[in-house]
């Protein structure tokens, strides 16, 4: 601190920052990106390890042998489902009761804000069926959940069959200390959301549902299962939940333990685990997985019905059975044994899962990067904004000094604090207008969909997406005209003050986002920071404008989609990409309304207005 409060040295430091600003910024940005890429190399990634005592040392012996039973249940379920065209509630109730569960149903209905074209639903009503296995001689204070989400198409029958067979097996055991809830939800995630809201007796998303008749205390952990074939070649695990929340790493470790024990082939993000971490191949493969995880986490959508449990602090993950063209196939018994083992170990838990990490990145199933190691990457990127802001602050300061005392002696002159009245007043209009644009972007598409369908030949969902794009584009034209009303006595100070405010605003937002959802924060920082740092009304404006447009939140989304498909080795053509982009926009808005995903309000109310400020800076006259 002494360094900074000594005016002479402070001045010297300020000079240094001013003179070396550009190289420092570049260095910091490059360091951030390099740090992120380095995360996949062994000193930064560590092997995962089980932290929870209750699950570590104890071995369990899996005895599940109900493969035929599971297949029979699955066939019956599929047949009944085909016959009734919906979830066969009565059949499920009967079957669950026959294996000895306490069975309840819950009906729910939800009118979506606009028709969901990817899932083809609008007015949704359905019924969830769940059976509770009461732990013997316990007082129903804790429970575990095994859930199977059933969509409108006839997938997931095998998962229901396995769930029922597991229920029958579990019911005959004496060792349960926690109740186990076997939940089959209709309309996949909507049903899960309805059930969770009713279980916790809250209404977050405006779902209408009947109250639950049976409960089983505090849910400690949940596993969602998705299986669509009698045999699987590998099990894929999904961890990313709503708003980028992740389950405790121990739950994933538990899954991995049983993968190894049962000799199952387990994948993360659909990618196999690299074996060799010493050469370059392993880390490069890990980088692909890591990037896929970053993209999925950044999207903030629940990747599987486990994602909705995380809001209620229930550690959860989704297991997906994949049936590809590999040679070796596993039957349902192998999957059932892994699940049995997981549930038996979760049953041993004395406390909620809390020992291991909640914030991590995964380059492979058995490797992780902890928050302490990945945070510097975001820190370096945000430092660029800080450096730029510092530079602007000092330039403003000096401009002020220069105005007051033209040609004054540098040393002993007393710099007055910059009078900010004029500067700040000129900022009010652009700030207000860009914020209003953000609000319009957030509110108008859903509100105005009926008006739009009246006047234009489009469907509601299309209307929402097109309104969204129209308002987004209109924002580019609107605010940069506003400063004309503002006094132009100091032409440079105006945009500098505006850019200073915008930089600080962006840094704050990105910092907060990176803390809660690192992937989203990092992704946005990577794209937005260079353009934000470069934006100024002089120089090659068209170049800056192009750069700014290319790094706007919407363009980032489009780019992410292409990158995602590229990493999945299913590259998109431009037209496909555009279609996917429109669908993603609609999904983003829908997920905000149906599950409370925060990406849409964050972009429309926070980052888009902030980005408009930079646009405004660029076209300052």
């Amino acid at each position: 601190m002494g360094l900074l409060s000594d005016p002479v040295r402070r001045r010297a430091l300020a000079r240094l920052v001013l003179r070396l600003n550009a190289p420092l910024c570049v260095l910091s940005y490059v360091a951030g990106i390099a740090w992120f890429l380095a995360l996949v190399f062994p000193p930064l990634t560590q092997r995962t390890y089980m932290s929870e005592n209750a699950m570590g040392s104890t071995m369990v012996e899996e005895q599940f042998a109900g493969g035929d039973r599971a297949r029979a249940f699955a066939r019956d379920f599929a047949a009944h489902r085909k016959k009734s065209g919906a979830l066969p509630v009565a059949w499920l109730e009967r079957t669950m009761r026959s294996v000895g569960l306490e069975v309840y149903t819950q009906s729910f209905s939800r009118k979506l804000p606009f028709p969901d074209e990817t899932h083809e639903r609008y007015m949704v009503s359905g019924t969830n069926v769940y059976g509770i296995l009461r732990a013997p001689r316990a007082a129903s204070t804790e429970s575990l959940v095994l859930t199977v989400p059933c969509g409108s198409d006839s997938t997931n029958s095998q998962a229901v069959g396995l769930l029922l067979a597991l229920a029958a097996h579990f019911r005959g055991q004496i060792y349960w200390a926690k109740d186990i809830i076997f939940l089959v939800t209709e309309h996949d995630l909507l049903g899960t959301e309805a059930w969770l809201e009713a279980y916790h007796d809250v209404n977050v998303t405006g779902m209408q549902s009947s109250p639950l008749q049976g409960r089983a205390g505090a849910i400690q952990a949940a596993v969602a299962l998705e299986l669509s074939s009698d045999v699987v070649t590998s099990l894929d695990v999904a961890v990313e939940g709503l708003n980028g929340q992740l389950p405790n790493l121990d739950l994933l470790n538990l899954f991995q333990t049983f993968c190894q024990k049962g000799g199952l082939l387990c994948t993360l993000q659909g990618k196999l685990q690299p074996q060799d971490w010493t050469s370059l191949d392993g880390p490069l493969q890990g980088l692909q997985t890591l990037l896929l995880m970053v993209l999925r986490q950044a999207s903030g959508r629940p990747h599987g019905s486990h994602g909705l449990f995380l809001r209620y602090r229930v550690e959860a993950l989704t297991l997906r059975g994949i049936n590809s063209f590999r040679q070796y196939k596993y039957d349902l018994v192998a999957v059932g044994k892994a699940l049995e083992g997981m549930f038996r170990k979760l049953n041993h838990l004395l406390e909620r899962l809390h020992q291991s990490f909640f914030l991590y990145l995964l380059p492979a199933l058995s490797r992780f990067v902890s928050i302490g190691l990945y945070m510097p990457a975001a820190g370096f990127l945000l430092l660029v904004l800080g450096l730029k802001a510092l530079e602007l602050w000092m330039q403003l300061h000096e401009a002020e000094v220069g105005l007051e005392e033209p040609g004054g002696a540098p040393g002993p002159s007393v710099p007055l604090p910059p009078s900010q009245g004029v500067g700040l007043a000129s900022l009010v209009a652009p700030l207000l207008i860009s914020q209003a644009m953000g609000l319009a972007l957030y509110v108008l598409p859903v509100l105005g969909q009926h008006v739009a369908t009246q006047y234009f030949p489009v469907a509601e969902a299309e209307a929402v997406v097109l309104t969204l794009l129209a308002i987004y584009a209109a924002g580019l034209a609107l605010p940069h005209n506003t400063h004309r009303v503002v006094s132009t006595q100091a032409p440079d100070r105006g945009w500098m003050a505006l850019k200073l405010v915008a930089l600080i605003y962006l840094a704050l937002q990105l910092g907060c986002i990176a803390l809660t959802n690192f992937s989203l924060g990092f992704l946005l920082a990577t794209t937005m920071v260079p353009a934000a740092a470069l934006a100024k009304p002089h120089g090659p404006r068209t170049l800056y404008a192009a750069l700014l447009v290319l790094t706007s939140p919407a363009a980032t989304l489009l780019g992410s989609l292409f990158l995602w498909r590229e990493l999945q080795e299913a590259p998109l053509s431009l037209a496909e990409g555009w279609q996917l982009f429109l669908a993603a926009l609609a999904q983003g808005v829908l997920e905000h309304h149906t599950y409370g995903a925060l990406l849409f309000p964050l972009l429309s109310l926070g980052l888009y207005p902030c980005w408009l400020l930079f646009w405004n800076v660029l076209f300052w006259k």
Partner: protein, 476 residues
Amino acid sequence: MAAAMPLALLVLLLLGRKGWCLAEPPRDSLREELVITPLPSGDVAATFQFRTRWDSELQREGDTDHYFLRYAVLPREVVCTENLTPWKKLLPCSSKAGLSVLLKADRLFHTSYHSQAVHIRPVCRNARCTSISWELRQTLSVVFDAFITGQGKKDWSLFRMFSRTLTEPCPLASESRVYVDITNYNQDNETLEVNPPPTTTYQDVILGTRKIYAIYDLLDTAMINNSRNLNIQLKWKRPPENEAPPVPFLHAQRYVSGYGLQKGELSTLLYNTHPYRAFPVLLLDTVPWYLRLYVHTLTITSKGKENKPSYIHYQPAQDRLQPHLLEMLIQLPANSVTKVSIQFERALLKWTEYTPDPNHGFYVSPSVLSALVPSVVAAKPVDWEESPLFNSLFPVSDGSNYFVRLYTEPLLVNLPTPDFSMPYNVICLTCTVVAVCYGSFYNLLTRTFHIEEPRTGGLAKRLANLIRRARGVPPL
């Protein structure tokens, strides 16, 4: 299966002020009985009752002094042999003879429900209550599960249940009986068969319905001498279907709603499934102080309308001293669900007050519901001394009602818990560093620094400045 009740050990100590006086020499008496009830689901419930009475020199005078009435609940107790063994040792015959030979730990803990209790109370020896006896009543209820214990088979025998048969009565017992609920057996459909065939039966109104019991008296010498042991068998003639068990008139459910670690809501659902009779229920809630109840949020709704309790007693909690006590008399309309909910805020404990397993959560004791539930069949008032012991579990008050006390499930509530680990220390350290730095940075940002020139010039300049100041001219 009904929600398992917690084991609530209730000890009432009612001591007179007058202390000791001489009485007749103690006369011990022991009655023991076992009631076996086959349930429609195929499970079977067994309830042991042992009542020991003795005259004591401890005496009580006048009415109960409420000053000495204490109520305490331990919301969680793990059942295991640790609490069964000392319980068995209180029995006069221990587990050597009589019904208590059936109390074999490994079988009793292979059940789906287990409830064990000790009640001590004074009993008047005569009408004017000048002298009293003490009564020690021990009850043990277990439910054998067809799925777990029976491996799916639904036929039961004493040997299958307890891996023991009855061979001799306890020599100290004045009465030693086994009752088997054969209500279905005696009706026309004949679903159940009991072997050996009972010699006598007993009819009574239990829980508002008429029940018939087969009696096996161990003191009846013919009973055991015929085959040297008694192994009662239950056979279903038509296997019972997996139907939902009949719903009792009064049942309740309790849960915590909301999410997050700041606020929450305690909700109790009270079900009255009686088709046409409303009845009042006394609801007693004790809530630990670290859930700070907001009493103004107390809402009671039945059938969508507000239900005003006719009596409310609320004693607020004192931090670390006493819990909240909330007692209400609520009228439950016929065929309705009444929801009683109250919001709370989770308190932050001192760091030494957390249990060793703070992430498990903190238990909240069950609510206690006491009610006079209307019965379907009118019952005659009975003589308590003559009728079986199980009769007094649900005492009939005036023939049209019976008394029920229900315990809801205990709750597990998570409190905001610091992470007692290395990262926690790191966070503490980081916060300290940030707090220290904040002051300096704030200082730097809000102040401007400039250099005070060292005083130069000698006496002459100072003098000149003095003169200039006097003249009103700026100094040199």
